[in-house]
Amino acid sequence: MNLYKRAYLYSIRKKGKTLTLLAFLLVMATLMLTCLSIQSATETANANIKKALLGYFTINAKTLENGIPEDTVSQILDVDGLSGRYTLRSYTYAAYFDADGNGLTINTEGAAQVPEGYENAGRVVANSNSQEDSYFTDGGFEMVEGSPITTETGSQVLIHEKFAQRNGLSVGDTMLLGNVEDKDKTIPVTVAGIFTNTEEQDSIGMAPSYDLYDNIVFTDLSTASFLLYGTEGTTNVQYGDFYVNDPDELERIMTDVQELDGVDWESCTLTRYDNDYQNAKESLEGLQNIVFIAIAVVSVICFLVLALFLTLRLRGRIHETGVYLAMGISKGSVLLQYLLEVILVAAIALVISFGTSTAISHQIGSSLLSQVTSETYETVDLTGESEAVEEEPAEDLGLAEIEVALSAEDYALVWAFGMVLCVASTALAAYPIMKMKPKSILSQMS
């Protein structure tokens, strides 16, 4: 009778011992698979957060005489690691005139004051895309007519619907924006769209007239550049937000940007915006560390307990070992039989563990992950550092869809680890018996 048959017969006839081992290995494999699947899920969550909470840096060139020129923007975009997504912004004030040069009427009701020279002036906001401006993304502004302003459109404005009513303006009309300090320096613009605010301005009574919502005008970057720097044909901007592919590389990218020629970087302020990502990452890393420690602890405990379990089991089989050796069956063959018995049961346990760990990891993992991701959502909601840049809403972080599922790699890893564990534990347990002489084994059994 060969060792395979002996191993098989032992496994099916010593039902109690086989079932005990099966239960133990099943718990072990389930624990291991659960930990690994949660770890994989946290890695996925981390990757999703990287994608969702794109880190970016802002260049504030407000103190520069001529802002950031187009060439510099092009050079910055060539820096390795940038995603290609960016937003340029400029802010200024302008006096509003109709096409004939007559001052337009602004709203002064609720204004803290109407500064001298600003009687028909308002705030001018220029952005690469007006729809992405924080007034629209967070401030409750929305278009009621016309189309937003982009880099493709030139010499256009969006005006508030009350401003339009007050001055009889509509989409397609022309008005003039003039430098507040030099009213002869004007630029004609076409009304491309009309917007309104869905939320009341909370600074009513405190803001000067030019900052009231009704008096704000959105325009393109080249118009703002003309108003700010008097440029024609080129566009200089005050602010630039540049998004990176990997928030972890933000520091390096900012250093590379500061090494670009042609800009007085000493006078510019570079600010990094990755707090959302760092906070979210911290939460997930905490979970990852816990899972990693759990995997290590489970591995060590499994090895020790399995070795102890098999030691006790083999100690009860000294009699059998002695008989086999007396028959001339080699120690290697006997050891291999014992190993096969364990591997046979381990294989069954690993197959069953696919189902058990899928169920358990889904429950435990989802609960753990949702706890961590809810912390992440709170972090994102509470971080209000980027006032003029679009923030990712928490539900768009890509965490809600993360499923704690068992991957083929994890399953293969647990199979490999389980088999190594079985071999090591059996070898360790059998070593004291195998190093004995057959006579010593037989004398022990008698």
Partner: protein, 234 residues
Amino acid sequence: MSIMEIKQVGYSYDNKKKVLKGVNAEMEQGKLYAILGPSGCGKTTLLSLIGGLDSPGSGQIYFDGQDIARTGLSDHRKNHVAFIFQAYNLIDYLTPAENVSLTSKLPPLPILERLGLTKEEARRNVLKLSGGQQQRVAIARALASEAPVILADEPTGNLDEDTAQDITEILKESAHKMNKCVVVVTHSGELAKQADVVFRLKKGELQVLERIDDPSAQPRSRRNNTSRSERRGR
């Protein structure tokens, strides 16, 4: 011609107490040998050395003229000898038939039936058999191995008188009809009476008894004397 030859074999436990002192013996196929002696005199140790379960401290043991230490103890156990133990030592998760199949590729049922077990008993759990039946299975396992030497350590020690007599008969038949060299360590005078050659192990020395029908008779030196069966063989 002797199949087993023991030459000047010495053995001591932990290099202190010498249990065997220059033991010499020759054993032939077709004979039943009995080794008598008081408890703790080294009978089982001698049997273990003959069976290759342990190595002697000094001297050599030959099988068919070959030193078993050189040919390998594991090989000797596998191909030349078969053990029968007092406690039967059957594998408890195998049936009698499967226990016999451990050492042989031959069908186990004929030999089990020849030793008195029914087909049903041959397929039962070994632990559900009586002591006598279990010892028959152990003997069947030894015989099925086709080893020319059978070493039995107190094979009737746990059995009642009638069953012990049956087992003795089987061992005798194994020697005489199956041409095995059967070596039995025993306290049983009845078994010794049936043996062709009786050795007494005393104070580490192996002696052949003068009269095999009287195990209590005075021995004489193995070196200088021959047994009755040996004389009969001349």
